[in-house]
């Protein structure tokens, strides 16, 4: 094992929440550390060290990933969306609204990761039944809520998303 710190560092350019950042990082810096420590985006959290808990979940090029299991250098040239980049123009994302409405959070620590994964889930399953929601959240642990309200929130967000897509289609068609 290395006993002295490597002096070799790498320059990376990453788009995070619609802003582009260029930084010099150690290769061993995890993406979640880069977000939290270098960019000050402390909304994304670290809950474990074995890729189980999902608190660190962000979107990489539109897909949910666990940012603790990626090095920042792997994100070079890619786009990352964190919980802090969801709300657009001061308007909360439908998933954020649904979590609030359905009381799908208590201490809030699992929440950013849970929301990010839930958004990915309904993209893949726009009309998920309970079983599909629960399966889709197997990589996100929560200790407070018992998951029931989270399931309700995800289904609610799926419903409002389908409805606004439908009305957009109608408007477009009209």
């Amino acid at each position: 094992m290395a006993t002295a710190q490597s002096t070799r560092t790498t320059s990376i350019t990453v788009e995070v929440d619609d802003m582009t950042y260029t930084d010099v990082v150690e290769p061993r810096m995890l993406l979640v550390q880069y977000l939290r420590e270098r960019l000050g985006k402390t909304g994304t959290l670290v809950g474990c060290d074995t890729t189980n808990c999902g608190a660190c979940t962000v979107h990489l090029d539109g897909q949910s990933v666990k940012s603790c299991t990626m090095f920042a250098v792997q994100a070079d040239g890619h786009a990352v969306t964190t919980i802090e980049g969801l709300a657009q123009g001061g308007e909360l994302h439908p998933m954020q609204k649904a979590f609030h409405e359905k009381h799908a959070l208590q201490c809030g620590f699992c929440t950013p990761g849970m929301i990010m994964q839930s958004i990915d889930l309904i993209k893949e399953h726009p009309d998920p039944d309970e079983h599909t929601v629960r399966d889709g959240l197997e990589g996100n642990l929560c200790r407070c809520t018992g998951y029931q309200n989270i399931v309700a929130a995800v289904q609610e967000a799926a419903r409002t998303t389908r409805e606004s897509a439908a009305s957009t289609t109608e408007e477009g068609a009209a």
């Binding site: 094992m1 290395a2 006993t3 002295a4 710190q5 150690e26 939290r36 000050g40 985006k41 402390t42 909304g43 994304t44 959290l45 670290v46 809950g47 474990c48 060290d49 074995t50 189980n52 808990c53 608190a55 964190t82 919980i83 802090e84 969801l86 709300a87 909360l92 954020q96 979590f99 609030h100 409405e101 009381h103 959070l105 208590q106 201490c107 809030g108 620590f109 699992c110 929440t111 950013p112 929301i115 309970e130 929601v133 629960r134 399966d135 959240l137 197997e138 990589g139 996100n140 642990l141 929560c142 200790r143 407070c144 809520t145 018992g146 998951y147 029931q148 309200n149 989270i150 399931v151």
Partner: protein, 818 residues
């Protein structure tokens, strides 16, 4: 006073920052010049540390200092235990950094302070420590014999023995006699496995020594207790210590502690004169943050052949672990008053021996003593029902306290104020479809289906709303159980509520706003709830034991009522009427029989300008109240579980779960449901998934979420929850507390259900967690040899694992942090 907010499912004020990532969890805090700490931890469960060489670590890049136990021996004091349950309780000194010996794997042996967390972590590997291993004691029965000592200097593993005897206490008869005279006596030994609270936010502490006060931010449930204990332990003037619990990511009792890491961070900050931060990894958290439960329960239940219970004898061995934490020895004692539960006993005896072992110490974990008690009695009742071939609900009905009998003085010396077990049970049976499910169970049994069905019952009560201070004094707990609040009306009419409780997910900001909105007749959104900072909330006893609403909420009510009375005096003066003629409704003071009146906000501004106040009236409406409850509160409920057991694989599936809980009056039903859901999952997880497993050298084998099985959404169904409302008669809000209820009730419901499914196949008991392997083995071996009561405590000797790359099939060798 019109009730509009109380009872409403108000969406939470806390949510906005949590759903947008604008949070202040302790690890988010960054201060100029901040240094980072990493801990070197013992990989041995019991050893003397003969030599520590920190030379290479100290000269490692970025390292500012390395602290060993010897370096801080004069300053670090001993971590406090606030609960000597007996005058002769034995406890070893508890240094934050071990000085010359370690007593559990994971104990801190040195601390590296460096300019970055990575550099601190790198330097840990360069610390060289010589250990002389000592024999370990892990098993409770073995600890009882004192053949191997967890702390040789202590001379024994027995910390204390605590007894309650109904004959001696004068609350009932002698239990030995009662049992001897009973037509039937059931003797059982049940095991409460060790659990890990596993809150989602790893513990973190930041200390800033650069101000007039030393400020500590910590992921804690107990900022006030922590402040007091730090001052006492480190001999710092109390006024110079400020503790802040910022956003805290769950606690469940696991953050009810004064931790070595907090003390070390404090010492590091004082030494370096710089802000210091320590954030644990999950592996460290599972290993070294205090564990929960850990008991061997030997029980005797006497009854008549008609199923009327007579006497109950409880004899516990309780696993303290290596040290006594803040309330460690008191946890099993809290359960002492609950083994009799909702039933009427003529005689009761409880005895508990607290034992040291070479494992992480135990302390409060959701329910703290009461889940253990409820498990024991509810398992016994089901066993008794089976023995008498009686329906388990009917057996309970025969023995429980009837609705008309409240208030009821129990054999354990408590007075239950109110309850209605009949109503909750009837509703639960209806929601569950009890008769239909029993019929299905019987059909499957007759047909010998591969998948069997079992119905599990759990009727519970618990004692919470900790606590009447006098009772705590009688139990030798060092602190009281009151709570403090201050309510302030600002010149603009906005209201600030300062509360001494310390929420970490419970929604206090929302619920307290609802209470005050109704009490003062002001808008919900005009109320700001301040908490968690000893500088802002100057007084309090924090959050645990389902106390916040019952005690803290009542303090808020008392303070708000004082505000109203002061305002009434001002109103009378300004309206030129007598105070007796002033009515207060919906935020407005008016002269009876007229339409003259003033809003509370107008009174507040008048008080602020103080131009025209009554003679001698202090120009302030702001009011403090400190509320000491006169009794515990006693929520209760009936829980029913339908369990499917695949007899081929032993796999257990929870098919349906119904609970009807009575928590008195409800402030926010949405928050209550959330607490129940979360509590249920933790209780179910104890029954089916979780266990802190150690190998024979005392290394925690279940040291990561790969092996410590906290369930995900994919592992459980949704629950059907409902309520009956029987208000508490001992507080004006009529509330009872709900934080721990789900956890307390659910574990025995699950295990009772599993056994109900397969008893006819010769299984009498299964040790928790009821893993597929254990269930299958029990089925194979039949009643006498199943992994159940008769087996020695599987203080789970897993085979030594290959120290190779990550072995995924169950065992991640994570014990070594050297």
């Amino acid at each position: 006073m019109t009730v509009t907010e109380i009872g409403s499912p108000r969406r939470r004020k806390e949510d906005q920052r949590l759903i947008t990532g604008r949070t202040r969890y302790t690890d988010n805090i960054v201060l100029p010049g901040m240094l980072h700490l990493a801990m070197a931890r013992s990989s041995f469960a019991h050893a003397t540390t003969t030599a520590i060489d920190t030379h290479e670590a100290t000269s490692s890049p970025g390292v500012v200092a390395v602290l060993t136990g010897r370096d801080v021996a004069d300053e670090q004091g001993s971590l406090p235990c606030a609960w000597p349950i007996t005058p002769d309780q034995k406890a070893p000194p508890h240094p934050a950094i071990a000085v010359d010996h370690v007593a559990f794997a994971g104990e801190v042996v040195a601390c590296v302070i460096a300019r970055s967390a990575a550099e601190a972590r790198d330097a840990i590997e360069l610390i060289d420590i010589d250990y002389d291993e000592l024999p370990v004691v892990l098993d409770l029965e073995e600890a009882l014999t004192d053949a191997t000592l967890a702390h040789p200097d202590l001379g024994t593993n027995k910390s204390a023995t605590w007894v309650f005897d109904s004959a001696e206490a004068g609350t009932g008869d002698d239990v030995a006699q009662a049992l001897a005279a009973s037509e039937l006596v059931l003797e059982r030994t049940y095991l409460q496995q060790r659990l890990i609270p596993a809150f989602m936010e790893p513990r973190s502490t930041v200390v800033d020594p650069t101000g007039e006060q030393i400020t500590m931010w910590s992921a804690t449930q107990v900022p006030h207790l922590l402040r007091l204990m730090l001052a006492l332990t480190l001999s710092i003037p109390e006024g110079k210590v400020r503790v802040v619990a910022p956003d805290v990511g769950g606690g469940f009792g696991g953050k009810l502690q004064v931790t070595p890491e907090e003390v070390i961070t404090m010492l590091a900050a004082r030494r370096t004169g710089k802000p210091c931060k320590y954030t644990e990894t999950r592996s460290e958290s599972l290993m070294a943050a205090h564990h929960g439960r850990g008991q061997v329960q030997r029980l005797k239940l006497g009854a008549t052949r008609e199923g009327i219970v007579t006497g109950l004898s409880v004899d516990l061995l309780a696993d303290m672990g290596a040290y006594l934490g803040l309330v460690t020895p008191g946890v099993p004692i809290l359960g002492a008053f609950m083994y009799n539960s909702i039933y009427k006993f003529a005689a009761y005896r409880f005895s508990c021996t607290n034992l040291f072992t070479n494992k992480a110490w135990t302390d409060a974990y959701r329910g703290a003593g009461r889940p253990e008690a409820t498990f024991a009695i509810e398992r016994l009742m089901d066993d008794l029902a089976h023995e008498l071939d009686m329906d388990p609900v009917e057996l309970r009905r025969k023995n429980w306290i009837k609705h008309e009998e409240f208030p009821f003085s129990t054999i354990a010396g408590l007075e239950y104020d109110s309850g209605n077990y009949e109503a909750a049970t009837d509703r639960a049976l209806e929601l569950f479809g009890y008769d239909d499910l029993c019929a299905e169970r019987d059909r499957r049994r007759a047909a010998g289906d591969r998948v069997q069905l079992g119905i599990g019952v759990s009727t519970f009560t618990e004692m919470c709303g900790l606590a009447p201070s006098r009772v705590l004094g009688a139990l030798s707990y060092a602190a009281g159980g009151w709570e403090h609040a201050q309510v302030r009306v600002l010149p603009t009419g906005a209201v600030e509520v300062v509360t001494g409780v310390s929420g970490h997910g419970q929604g206090h900001e929302t619920a307290w706003s609802q209470i005050v909105a109704d009490r003062l007749g002001v808008p919900f959104d005009s109320i700001e709830v301040l908490h968690g900072d000893t500088q802002t909330s100057q007084k309090g006893l924090d959050t645990y034991g389902s106390r916040s609403l019952v005690v803290g909420g009542m303090a808020v009510v008392a303070a708000a009522d004082k505000v109203v009375e002061k305002a009434r005096t001002v109103a009378a003066h300004l309206l030129e009427a007598s105070t007796d003629d002033i009515e207060f409704a919906e935020g407005r003071f008016s002269v009876r029989g007229t339409d003259q009146g003033l809003a509370l906000g107008e009174i507040a501004f008048a008080t602020f300008s103080a131009h025209n106040l009554p003679d001698g009236f202090e120009p302030s409406l702001d009011s403090d109240a400190t509320f000491d409850p006169e009794n515990f509160s006693f929520p209760h409920g009936t829980h029913l579980a339908a369990m499917e057991v695949d007899t081929e694989t032993g796999e257990v599936t929870l098919r349906k779960y119904v609970c009807v809980d009575d928590i008195g009056n409800v402030i926010n039903p949405m928050i209550v449901d959330g607490q129940v859901h979360g509590g249920l999952v933790q209780g179910i997880a104890q029954a089916l998934f979780e266990e802190a497993v150690h190998d024979e050298s005392g290394t925690l084998v279940s040291g990561s979420f790969v092996d410590y099985l906290v369930p995900s959404a994919a592992d459980l169904p949704s629950f059907t929850t409902d309520r009956t409302v029987t208000p508490s008669t001992t507080n004006a809000l009529g509330v009872k507390g709900v934080g721990e209820a789900g956890t307390i009730a659910s574990t025995p419901a699950i295990v009772n259900g599993v056994l109900d499914a397969i008893r006819h196949l010769g299984v009498q008991d299964i040790a928790m967690p009821c893993s597929p392997h254990r269930v299958w083995k029990a089925l194979q071996d039949g009643a006498s040899k199943g992994l159940g009561a008769e087996e020695p405590v599987p203080d789970r000797v897993a085979p030594e694992q290959d120290a190779g790359p990550m072995n995924s099939s169950g065992n991640l060798p994570t014990g070594d942090f050297q």
